[in-house]
């Protein structure tokens, strides 16, 4: 009986403690919310977009009945629906997006596209998940949303969290970056490219030539 009594007492204390903690938490949360407005809100439109379009890409790549060439073609189309390619192309150039000449841009754009498609197709292929499930989203500011998902099934043993940064509004959204194991792909790509150009003394052509080579190398390796 004493045991039960003390247990009950403990539970009561814990509950009171929990209430206090909750109050403190919400107090803090309220305080925090006052400064960055709109943080933590969800965006159903962005979530629906990722659910549909990203799922489509994953379904295509997980399809065992499709040849690699077919996959490549469908992936190429799906990328346009899913991602804001011009914006990403600009972002990965970092500070050099300001100094690139129109001629260089005209050459960089298709080279980067081919390179990125090859690279990301093999990245996604490494994991070969099947189902994508949206678990939530965070509105960073209006029109800039992080949609959190998990990918499971296929070769994945435990659900893999993947986040998608989408820009847009209402029903029109486009993915600009993808995060996985904490790593944002476009941000990493930007650092990679900017450093390569830096080390070439600011010569963007060096990067373009290198991507041309490694882009074809990557597709050959697959």
């Amino acid at each position: 009986m004493t045991l039960a009594g003390s247990l009950m007492k403990n539970t009561l204390i814990t509950r009171r403690g929990a209430n206090a903690a909750l109050l403190a938490f919400f107090g803090a949360a309220g305080f925090a919310a006052a400064t960055p407005a709109l943080a933590q809100a969800r965006d159903p439109g962005a979530e629906a977009f990722v659910q549909t379009k990203a799922q489509r890409v994953i379904t295509v790549l997980a399809n065992k009945g499709m040849s690699d060439a077919q996959k490549k073609q469908v992936f190429h189309q799906a990328v346009d629906e899913l991602a804001d390619v011009p914006r990403i192309t600009n972002f990965v150039l970092g500070k050099y997006a300001r100094t690139i000449t129109p001629d260089q841009r005209a050459r960089f754009t298709p080279v980067f596209r081919t390179y990125a498609e090859n690279v990301y197709q093999s990245r996604i292929d490494d994991y070969r998940g099947e189902q994508l499930k949206v678990t939530g989203s965070v509105v960073r500011k209006p029109g800039d949303v992080i949609v959190n998902t998990t990918i499971s099934g296929g070769q994945i043993t435990s659900p893999l969290p993947v986040s998608w940064r989408v820009l847009g509004s209402g029903q029109t959204w486009k993915v600009v970056d993808v995060q996985f194991k904490g790593i944002w792909l476009a941000i990493t790509q930007q650092q990679d490219f900017v450093s390569t150009i830096d080390n070439a003394g600011g010569n963007i052509d060096v990067l373009i030539n290198q991507l041309q080579k490694s882009g074809s190398g990557s597709s050959g390796r697959r």
Binding site: T35, P36, A37, L38, A39, R87, N90, F91, G94, K95, A97, R98, I100, Y115, N118, V119, S122, R123, D126, Y127, V138, R140, K141, P142, G143, D144, Q155, T157, S158, R165, L167, G168, S169, T172, V176, D177, K181, G182, I183, W184, I187, T188, Q191, D192, F193, S195, T196, N199, L207, Q210, L211, S214, S218, R221
Partner: protein
């Protein structure tokens, strides 16, 4: 994470190392606020537009040395670790590798529990304790992650993360051949993970056959598990910077997982190529 036990020397110098580690940690913590402040761009009114991201600004004062070390490390990987891992992956089915990975992770669980406690996270500590008990018994010495199926998924913790929770910034980036990418905070953390690891202390460290086998298996398992990352590096224009960026973001995310803080991201459209609106409003 589950990569401890690298240098045999560490074991004998364990106590000295722990003391040195504690001093270094204290120093790190003292410097942390300054390092943070340095990175922060004061953009007061803009919501969530902090400008500071680990991704954008990795502090790498000895980049020249690190690049050399990276070359050596990748060379070592090409002739030793890579081939061993690929051989291992070729002769074992995925089920076996998953089992081995689970067992390695399970032996890291006591260290995780300790760090959850140090981070003031009793709930996570209890979950990890339950995981350790269930997986060590029902899960046959950790080969099967039974606990994950009981809705107790793994939640790793380490000293580097704990220092991050206590407010330490990552400090300078380091590349150590054979250990891979690190920073000061996580390097000190890893040394502490090593010398305070409960399994090494109570079951057997590197001087025992168990410890040697565990270290060997841990290294092979880790290399096999990170194989996709190594393949991704083949596509990078500058593999050194790609590694540095990816590692820093990865560790930053691990600290954020414990602090619950939101990530600061760069605005996607800065810097604009031409006068484009900063806020995307199509």
């Amino acid at each position: 994470m589950r990569d401890h036990d690298q240098s045999p020397r560490l074991k004998t110098q364990g106590r000295h190392f722990a003391a040195a580690g504690a001093i270094a940690a204290a120093g790190l913590l003292a410097l942390a606020p300054a390092a943070r402040a340095e990175n922060q761009i004061p953009t007061a009114p803009a919501p969530a537009a902090g400008g500071e991201t680990t991704a954008a600004a990795v502090y790498d004062p000895i980049e020249g040395f690190n690049r050399g070390a990276f070359k050596v490390g990748m060379g070592l990987d090409k002739v030793i670790f890579g081939p061993i891992a690929h051989g291992y992956m070729a002769i074992t089915p995925k089920v076996v590798r998953n089992g081995v990975g689970n067992a390695v992770d399970n032996l890291g669980e006591p260290n995780t529990i300790m760090n959850h406690v140090l981070q003031g996270k009793p709930k996570r500590a209890i979950r990890s304790t339950t995981r350790f008990i269930v997986n060590s018994t029902v899960g046959v010495l950790g080969l099967f992650d039974v606990a994950a199926k009981m809705r107790l998924p793994a939640r790793n913790a380490d000293f580097g993360q704990t220092f991050g929770v206590w407010g330490a910034g990552p400090g300078a980036y380091l590349y150590v051949p054979g250990m891979g990418p690190l920073n000061v905070r996580d390097g000190v953390g890893r040394a502490l993970d090593f010398v305070t690891d409960p399994v090494s202390l109570y079951v057997g460290g590197l001087s025992t056959d168990f410890g040697k086998a565990r270290t060997g298996v841990t290294i092979v398992d880790l290399r096999a598990a990170t194989d996709p990352a190594f393949r991704a590096l083949d596509d990078a224009a500058d593999p050194y910077v790609t590694t540095r960026s990816a590692y820093s973001q990865y560790r930053d995310a691990i600290v954020r997982d414990a602090t619950g803080k939101a990530e600061d991201l760069p605005d996607f459209d800065a810097p604009p190529p031409s006068p484009a609106p900063a806020a995307p409003k199509p």
